[in-house]
Structures are given as structure tokens and as C-alpha cells.
């Protein structure tokens, strides 16, 4: 079949991304822990999520792309917290898709050249988005940046730095923050069906004086996209939360594309020396401080939220304990597959049926997805690389292993000459299937609880100032030479509008100035 959309250049770029994604997948598979669960059929739901990604991502990304270009999505979401940052797009998006493709190749249901246009499109969409989202350092992934995840512009890091409250082990704030982080982490793992896709980390950012900033993001906490949170999460006040943590005497030498970190010495909560709390979404200009009016308010907020999350954990656990295996399979598969659903939220075109249903083309495999098959196939795909499609010439020495293997099948270049391929799975979604209860039309946002139509309408109607043509291209490279300009001041003041310490301070501050301002403004409040 002829294609006007595949060129030699496009295929070369596509295969480059396929290869580098596969090598990092192998590295992560070797260095990170495979999660087990007696509660959820984890590997089985992961397989279902991968298959759903293969069949649905191309058409849904085309639908989103018709509204907003990948670069526009990145700039629109730059100043808020979203699942399409860090782990969600660094690794999950393209690898979920490619892992689904590799499964089908091994089943003999597709050839490496089938869906070639889809593969090229999904990877190109991803590349353009990643380049724009990570433009401050210019890396496509954390891996490319030496396993570092510095994605925030100076103006946002300064606000985090200035507004965090200092703490030390044993004081009330440290204790409250510790308990809160334990409660929200546990809740997030349960919400995500024993996976980590509802929480991630980025950073580090150097705060000076032996301190590094690690930013911890949590997503999908409240009533919103995930049907299993309807009712049980009604008291959760924010769908997304960002916790800023300053950590002393600890160097985070690795933040990988799964959002996991390694540090020297080993990370210990006792070394947290500053904390802050924020929320945001597509309806907020930028990050909104939560309980940050005073030290005592933040302590009270952490304590009360910890109780809310514990109660929600109990309620959600009881709900899941009553679910059938098909329901647990759906919840997990949809948690994985929908990792990029926030593209649709940013574009204001989110539909429940697009993201919270299993496509019938993927669902037909449900009957095969027993625990052993899921565990074995997931293992084979990731590390031993034992499937037939993953074997190469004996001369090959794969990155990280030296064995003659590869994670993913490239698209053969012969495709360009013989045209022997079928370009796409098609633009029409298959019928959607779910065993989960019908989604309630309640979506917690920074503008209150909305119905989905209203949420999409408001998102489309709202243009954050920082996304406007006046500001969106003003990056740190520009600030370096223009920080004295009125425009730079204006830019920084937008970010500083909700800052307790930096409101209207403008663009001229350096890192050392931040600690001085804290000393001037807060006096004894800084002292635990």
C-alpha cells in the first residue's frame, strides 16, 4: 500500500526513537523493581492497557492534535501540574504503545511494518511535545539529560524556594508533613491500582547550602476521570497536589523516566528541611498555594488532609475488595492506558468513552490475560527479551546487556520501496467496553466541582496569561539577557502573584536573594 506520509527521513527518525526507547526500557527494567500484588492482577492489567494504547492512541492523538499542536499543549500546561509531565510522557506514553505493538507482533497478528504511519505519528507527536515541554534543557527525556529532571523555569523554582516553610525532624511541621506524605503516597498507590502512575517526582534543583529541591506531584486524587473514585473521594479537596521538599545533605544523583530517584546518602525523611503545598490544573493560571498562609495553617492542612486521605484509602480499599477480577482488570488497565488523557483535558476535548473504556479490539484478548501469562509476558518483554521478535544477529551487542537482542522491532526500510504495509489501525475507535460502574458526572477542579461539558468549555475558554503570545516564548535563555526589562518583570510577577514572599518582586532576584528575603519577611516563623 502506498503512503504519502512515510519518507526515508521520517522512518529514520522513528526507528531512532524506537531504539532509544527500548534501551531505556531495558535499563529501567533491570534497575527498578517489578511490583507484585495479591490484590490486583497487575501484569495482566498492564498487558490490557498496552493493547488498548496500541489501538486507541493514534486516533485519539489525532483528535487532540486537530485542536492543539503538541508544542501548544506543552506551553499551555507548562505552569500547572499534569500527568503529561515527567513519567507520563517521559516513558509511559510511547513505551505503552510500543509494548502493545510488540505483543501483537509476537502473536503474529501484525508485522513490524504494519501501522507504520501510526507508529511514526505517535512518536513524532511525543517528540514534539517533549521538546517543547522540556525546552529549558532541550532534552527529550530524563535519560538524555543524564537521568536528571530539571524542567521548571527559574521563576517557578524561586517561588517554591521562597515560600516553603523550613522544618526539621521532630518539629510539628516536619511530623505533619511526614504523615501527610505517607498517607497521600499510600492513597495514590491504591488509586493507581498498585502502580505509581498517580505520583511522580522531578528535580533536583539546587537551593544552595547543601539543599536540593525535589518536587513531588500527585494526580487524580479526587472525584474526576477515574470512575472508582466516585463517592469514595468526595471529601478529597484537590485532584492534583504538588509537594515541594527541600532536602539537606542529600544529593539526588538520579531521577529516572519513571520518576524514581536515587540519592547519596540514602534518602531519609529526617533530612527534609523545607516543605510547601500547591494545587493547579488547566483552569489555573499557575500553581495555587494550599494552606500556605502561615506555618500553623500548613501544619493544620497537612494533618487534616492526611486524615482525609486515610479515610478515602479505607473506603476505596473496601470498594476494590468487592470488585470482580474483570473490574480490577479494567481499573488497572485504564489507569495505565489513560496516562496521557490529560492531553485531552488540555485541549478541552476530554470524553469519558475515549479514555475510560477498553476498545473491543483490545478487549478480545481479555480471556488470555491470566496472572501467569501476564507476569511471564511482561517479564519477557522487559528484561530477558526472550520473544522471537527481540532476537538479533549474533554480532549485535545491545546497550546495557551486550546480548544480541532488542526491545522493540524497528520498521523495515524496505517498506519505502515495496509499499508492503498497512499504514494505520484506522481512525475510528472500536466499541468501548467496561465492567466498571457508570461514571458520575463530577469533576473536581480548581474552580470547584464541574460537569464534564462545563469543564471542557471552561478549559477551551481560558487562556492563561503565561500561554499568551506575549509571554509563552520567554524562556530562561531570554531572561538571562533581558531580566531588567519591564516585560521580564511582568512575566515574573504573573508567576509571583500568589506568592507569600515574592509578590511583585519581579525578575531581578538571584538564588541567594531568596533566602535573604525569607529572613527579612518571616523572622521567627522560619524557625521550627
Amino acid at each position: 500500500m502506498e503512503s504519502n506520509n512515510l519518507t526515508y527521513t521520517k522512518l529514520l527518525e522513528t526507528n531512532n526513537l524506537i531504539r532509544s526507547a527500548g534501551e531505556e526500557t531495558y535499563f529501567l527494567g533491570v534497575t527498578r523493581t517489578v511490583q507484585e500484588s495479591k490484590f490486583f492482577p497487575v501484569s495482566a492489567y498492564i498487558m490490557l492497557g498496552y493493547l488498548n494504547a496500541f489501538y486507541r492512541y493514534p486516533s485519539l492523538l489525532r483528535k487532540i492534535g486537530a485542536i492543539m499542536a503538541p508544542e501548544d499543549l506543552a506551553d499551555r500546561v507548562r505552569n500547572s501540574t499534569s500527568k503529561i509531565q515527567s513519567m507520563g510522557t517521559n516513558w509511559c506514553m510511547i513505551n505503552f504503545y510500543l509494548l502493545g505493538r510488540e505483543m501483537l507482533i509476537d502473536m503474529g497478528l501484525i508485522r513490524p511494518q504494519d501501522a507504520a504511519e501510526d507508529v511514526a505519528f505517535v512518536l513524532e507527536f511525543w517528540r514534539r511535545y517533549q521538546l517543547a515541554w522540556r525546552r529549558e534543557t532541550g532534552h527529550l527525556t530524563n535519560k538524555e539529560g543524564g537521568h536528571r529532571s530539571q524542567i521548571l523555569p527559574e521563576r517557578r523554582v524561586q517561588v517554591y524556594h521562597a515560600d516553603m516553610y523550613l522544618c526539621e525532624e521532630g518539629d510539628p511541621l516536619h511530623t505533619a508533613a511526614d504523615r501527610f506524605m505517607a498517607a497521600i503516597s499510600q492513597y495514590a498507590v491504591l488509586v493507581a491500582c498498585e502502580s505509581r502512575v498517580c505520583m511522580t517526582n522531578h528535580g533536583p534543583y539546587n537551593l544552595g547550602n547543601g539543599r536540593e529541591l525535589l518536587v513531588r506531584d500527585f494526580f487524580d486524587l479526587a472525584e474526576g476521570d477515574l470512575p472508582w473514585l466516585d463517592g469514595v473521594a468526595k471529601n478529597v479537596p484537590h485532584a492534583r497536589l504538588t509537594i515541594t521538599t527541600a532536602v539537606k545533605d542529600t544529593h539526588f544523583y538520579m531521577v529516572d523516566d519513571w520518576g524514581s530517584f536515587e540519592s547519596r546518602p540514602e534518602y531519609k525523611a529526617e533530612n527534609i528541611c523545607g516543605v510547601g503545598l500547591y494545587t493547579s490544573d488547566e483552569l489555573s493560571e499557575t500553581q495555587i498555594p494550599v494552606g500556605m498562609g502561615s506555618r500553623s495553617e500548613l501544619i493544620e492542612t497537612f494533618e487534616s488532609y492526611a486524615e482525609i486521605f486515610k479515610e478515602a484509602t479505607k473506603n476505596l480499599w473496601e470498594r476494590f475488595a468487592g470488585y470482580s477480577r474483570d473490574q480490577l482488570l479494567d481499573a488497572g488497565a485504564l489507569t495505565y492506558y489513560s496516562i496521557i488523557k490529560d492531553f485531552a483535558h488540555v485541549a478541552g476535548c476530554y470524553e469519558n468513552s475515549d479514555w475510560m473504556e477498553i476498545d473491543e479490539r483490545a478487549d478480545r484478548f481479555r480471556v488470555l490475560l491470566n496472572d501467569e501469562y501476564g507476569n511471564m509476558l511482561l517479564g519477557a518483554l522487559f528484561v530477558p527479551l526472550t520473544l522471537a521478535s527481540q532476537q538479533c544477529s549474533e554480532y549485535t551487542m545491545m546497550c546495557h546487556t551486550d546480548l544480541p537482542k532488542r526491545s522493540y522491532s524497528p520498521i523495515p526500510y524496505s517498506t519505502l520501496a515495496d509499499g508492503e504495509f498497512v499504514p494505520s489501525v484506522g481512525d475510528v475507535l472500536g466499541a468501548g467496553i467496561t465492567y466498571l460502574p457508570e461514571k458520575v458526572d463530577r469533576y473536581r477542579t480548581t474552580q470547584g466541582v464541574l460537569g464534564l461539558d462545563e469543564l471542557n468549555r471552561r478549559t477551551r475558554a481560558f487562556t492563561p496569561a503565561l500561554y499568551s503570545e506575549r509571554f509563552r516564548y520567554l524562556d530562561d535563555a531570554w531572561v538571562k539577557y533581558n531580566y531588567e526589562s519591564p516585560l521580564a518583570d511582568e512575566l515574573y510577577r504573573i508567576e509571583q502573584a500568589s506568592s507569600r514572599q515574592l509578590r511583585d518582586r519581579g525578575a531581578g532576584l538571584r538564588r541567594d536573594d531568596i533566602d535573604n528575603i525569607r529572613d527579612e519577611n518571616t523572622g521567627s516563623e522560619m524557625v521550627p
Binding site: S37, K38, D106, M181, S324, N370, E372, A380, Q391
Partner: protein, 249 residues
């Protein structure tokens, strides 16, 4: 019979897929060949169009049924899987720890004679966080939803050292913070259970290998020992700390 594109593979002999994958994927390939023969459709018609009807859920169900009817029994991981399809899964080890005589018996558990203080080493595990002193408590098994439900409704007794074989963070989620300590017979210090116990400040040993510890036994965890590092896992270095059974009070 029709050939598939991947039937000719220069390096196929290097593949060594797990048997359950080889069985199921081999059966799917056979089905695809048959369907192509039976219908005469071209690959271009088949791959993203006709295949949805020609390789249907009913067809795949039939493949799976034959595997089970042929005597294959899957190894389960989620408790619900074997509960819903007991005939398709090999029996899981006693699914809960309710029996008073139940004990984990790991071959790798290092057991030593009773020492001069009356305590006896009954195993070891990877320490998640180094604490100033060892932790002592009463062993109780939490291995099933029923075990956790009892803990949820009746409360977790004070001083409980939970013995768990699920390194995930969800099975014990609603009662985890009430544990005095955890012995987990799986995972690593980076598993969700390890991460969450660290967040809660609960002493925890992961990847534990123990023997002869019954529910109600007093146990001591050597959590004053070094926490196992990522580098130690990568080097395959043993940094395990000890688990002792103590004389009854």
C-alpha cells in the same frame, strides 16, 4: 497452510519465551494461518479489518479453554484470580494466615541454635531503614483480604509485627500504619510496601526468608542494621539483617 510474515525468522532459534506465552501465542498464530486459508482474504484486508471478526474473543476463549482442559494450571498472583477460576489455577499456598499452625518455611532462611539470651535466629531480610534499635513485637500473618478485613474491623493488636508475602502497597493499605513492624517475604526495599513503610516510619524487612515463626510468637527484627542500598542490589551483595524468635513472656 498460509505463512505468516514472521514464520521466516533468521534468529528465531535464539528465542526462549516462557512456556505459557509460547503456548498461547503459538495457538494464535495457528488460528491466524487457518483463518487466512479459510477466508482467502489478503493480509492487507486482514490485519486491521477482518482480523477483528476472524480472531474474535470467542476464538481466543476457545484457545484458552483448550489449554486449561489439557491440564495446564496457571500460577496465580492476585488472590481473586484463583477464587474466580479455581479450576484454571494451581492451588495457591494456604491463602491466609488464619491457621494458628501456619508458618512460612523458606529454604533460604538461616536458622541457628537458641543463644544464651533464649532467642533463636529464624531468618533474615533486607532492612528498609536503619533505626537506632531493634524492634520487638508479636508476629501475625496478613496474607489475604479476609486477614486485612479482620484487622480493619477488629483493629490491629498493639505491637503487631505483620508477616506478609505481598510486597505491594495495596493489600494491607487500610491497616498498614497500625503495624509495629513488617516482615515481607518478597520484593525489595524499593517495592511499594518498602516505600510506604519508610514513609510511615515503620521498621520493615523486605525479601525476608524465615522459618518456624507462628502467629503469636514474639519476634525481634534487627532493624538497627544497615539499610540495603540500591548499589548492593545491583552488585548482588547480601546486606541482610537477622530475625529472631524470642522466648514467650
Amino acid at each position: 497452510m498460509a505463512n505468516l510474515y514472521t514464520d521466516v525468522d533468521k534468529y528465531e532459534d535464539a528465542a526462549s519465551p516462557p512456556s505459557v506465552v509460547a503456548i498461547l501465542h503459538g495457538a494464535i498464530k495457528d488460528l491466524v494461518r487457518r483463518r487466512l486459508d479459510q477466508t482467502g482474504v489478503s493480509w492487507q484486508e486482514f490485519v486491521f479489518d477482518k482480523s477483528y471478526a476472524l480472531v474474535s474473543a470467542a476464538d481466543l476463549n476457545e484457545i484458552e479453554r483448550k489449554v486449561v482442559d489439557g491440564g495446564y494450571r496457571y500460577t496465580g498472583s492476585a488472590l481473586i484470580s484463583a477464587v474466580e477460576r479455581p479450576g484454571a489455577y494451581a492451588p495457591m499456598n494456604e491463602a491466609d494466615g488464619a491457621s494458628p499452625d501456619f508458618t512460612f518455611e523458606h529454604d533460604e532462611a538461616m536458622v541457628e541454635p537458641v543463644d544464651s539470651t533464649g532467642r533463636q535466629r529464624r531468618g533474615q531480610g533486607d532492612n528498609v531503614v536503619e533505626f537506632p534499635a531493634n524492634t520487638i513485637g508479636t508476629a501475625r500473618y496478613y496474607r489475604s483480604i479476609q486477614d486485612v478485613m479482620i484487622g480493619l474491623t477488629e483493629g490491629v493488636p498493639e505491637g503487631t509485627i505483620a508477616i506478609i508475602d505481598d510486597s505491594g502497597g495495596t493489600l494491607t493499605a487500610p491497616i498498614l500504619e497500625h503495624f509495629h513492624g513488617v516482615i515481607c517475604a518478597g520484593g525489595t526495599v524499593r517495592s511499594h510496601l518498602g516505600i510506604l513503610t519508610r514513609e510511615y516510619g515503620i521498621p520493615c524487612l523486605m525479601n525476608a526468608r524465615v522459618s518456624g515463626i507462628r502467629g503469636g510468637d514474639r519476634v525481634e527484627l534487627e532493624v538497627s542494621g544497615r539499610a540495603k542500598t540500591a548499589e548492593a542490589y545491583q552488585r548482588g551483595e547480601d546486606m541482610s539483617v537477622r530475625v529472631w524468635k524470642l522466648p514467650a513472656n
